[in-house]
Symmetry: C2
């Protein structure tokens, strides 16, 4: 849908063809913005107050500061006034702002209505039922998409529980992955990690560790495991590109032992990187 | 993490403090960009080829065109060269581009490493286990976050099945909502819609219809229902801000009857909007 008008918090109405979002805005990087969409009838956004209330609730759930709803309302009305179209749609985005900076941003977008709306209402919708949590994850399972709001909320929840990071379990209790890492543990000379066919992200560091492990004398097994397998391990660690190999000292408040494999793999990863 | 350098497809290296993303880029609006993060060691991104291969796979799963991996590699290396930091992290984003335009965009971001990484590795991670699909949806359940990659993939899957839109079912077969709408159906004089405590989005149009229905002589019940309830309805429709009240003519390829309530509610919604 064509962007008819655009207003930016602190700046007001700007040219819709001007890029206004920073590349490192968490709304873009992590899909962590709260948003609202409403229909504009005769130049007036429908139930804007309710949309703004819901936006405040979304912001709270996403861990963003409380938005100034009066300022957002003014911004939205400025954008609608600038659009020169009385029947259109309005979107309001409230973003966490640039990573590490933390100053939230607001955007109001006014867009043309899809031209096929009336025709579709006349004909009626055809729906396909998709079991959520069964079929749907496989739709983008293993795709690294910038829809990380849930992942980031999981990290926040882990922190509320006194941990550093979350560990996702499948509906059936199967151990999956961290929000931004793969999980590993060792028993004796064997390293274990959840299998990719569980729909987890195929980590490049994970693949690298699988290559490096035999040179260090470790066997690697992947499969579907339970939290009890992790709790009984001789050591536990995560792998990811920036955190690299990170030892785990606690799972759900229970201490897990530290071991040598995490350090050995970290050193081997660095050596591989130096020779890359 | 500080943004040390930024390169944009078609432009090359730009000032990191210049906003480069359009407000209506689907990567921002819908969280539909594919991305990669890798560690840069001694000025060289680790296993960049593997990250780019995975990016191509993510793009395919998200319904984006195939990226030019050679161009992305050059863009990434330009950004790293511009960063003036040999130990850092590199992020590559491949976005669908502006809504309705469809010309994909590429970004390479080079960021400083988190200063606490070594300290954390020394101390070790504390993890909290979160059952995915049980506890995790409630973390942002009902929050309208711009992490819509899964929702958009569900619409694509519905289209592949010959439908217009998807209908999400819970793991237990409970009818939830559409990717961008709430669901309704009528039996006799009663309108049914899934309850908000299922973790669905509290639609403003849904709330408006609940207010308007009694004036039209309809009772409203919300709760946990099955697809069989929908299939046995006298009529079915969806509600959302821009599509408004949209009749449904088919669920999973089976015709559902059309009725008067959808049109009556649509007219009442318009009247409420005119008087808003």
């Amino acid at each position: 849908m064509t962007l008819l008008a655009l207003a930016v918090g602190g700046r007001g109405v700007v040219d819709p063809d001007e890029p206004v979002v920073f590349a490192d805005d968490e709304g873009f990087l992590r899909g962590r913005a709260a948003f609202e969409t409403t229909r504009v009838y005769g130049g007036r956004p429908f139930r804007l107050d309710r949309h703004l209330e819901r936006l405040a609730g979304s912001a709270a759930r996403l861990g963003l500061p409380a938005p100034d709803l009066g300022a957002l309302e003014r911004l939205a009305l400025e954008a609608v006034a600038a659009a020169g179209e009385r029947e259109c749609s309005l979107r309001i985005y409230f973003t966490p702002g640039r990573e590490g900076n933390g100053r939230p941003g607001a955007l109001a977008l006014v867009q043309a209505l899809p031209p096929w709306l009336d025709e579709l209402r006349e004909r009626g919708l055809r729906l396909a039922a998709l079991p959520f949590g069964v079929e749907t994850p496989s739709l983008i399972g293993g795709a690294k998409a910038s829809s990380y709001a849930l992942n980031m909320a999981a990290v926040d929840e882990a922190k509320r529980r006194g941990a550093d990071d979350a560990l996702f379990l499948g509906p059936d209790g199967v151990v999956l992955e961290g929000p931004t890492s793969n999980l590993w543990w060792r028993r004796g000379g064997t390293l274990f990690t959840p299998a990719l066919d569980l729909g987890i992200l195929p980590g490049v560091t994970r693949a690298t560790l699988i290559e490096l492990a035999p040179e260090l004398g470790y066997a690697v097994e992947d499969g579907a495991y339970r939290l009890a397998d992790v709790a009984a391990a001789d050591e536990v660690f995560t792998s990811s590109s920036v955190r690299e190999v990170m030892p785990v000292v606690e799972v759900d408040g229970a201490a897990v032992p530290r071991g040598a494999a995490a350090d050995e793999l970290q050193a081997a990863l660095r050596a591989a990187a130096d020779g890359a």
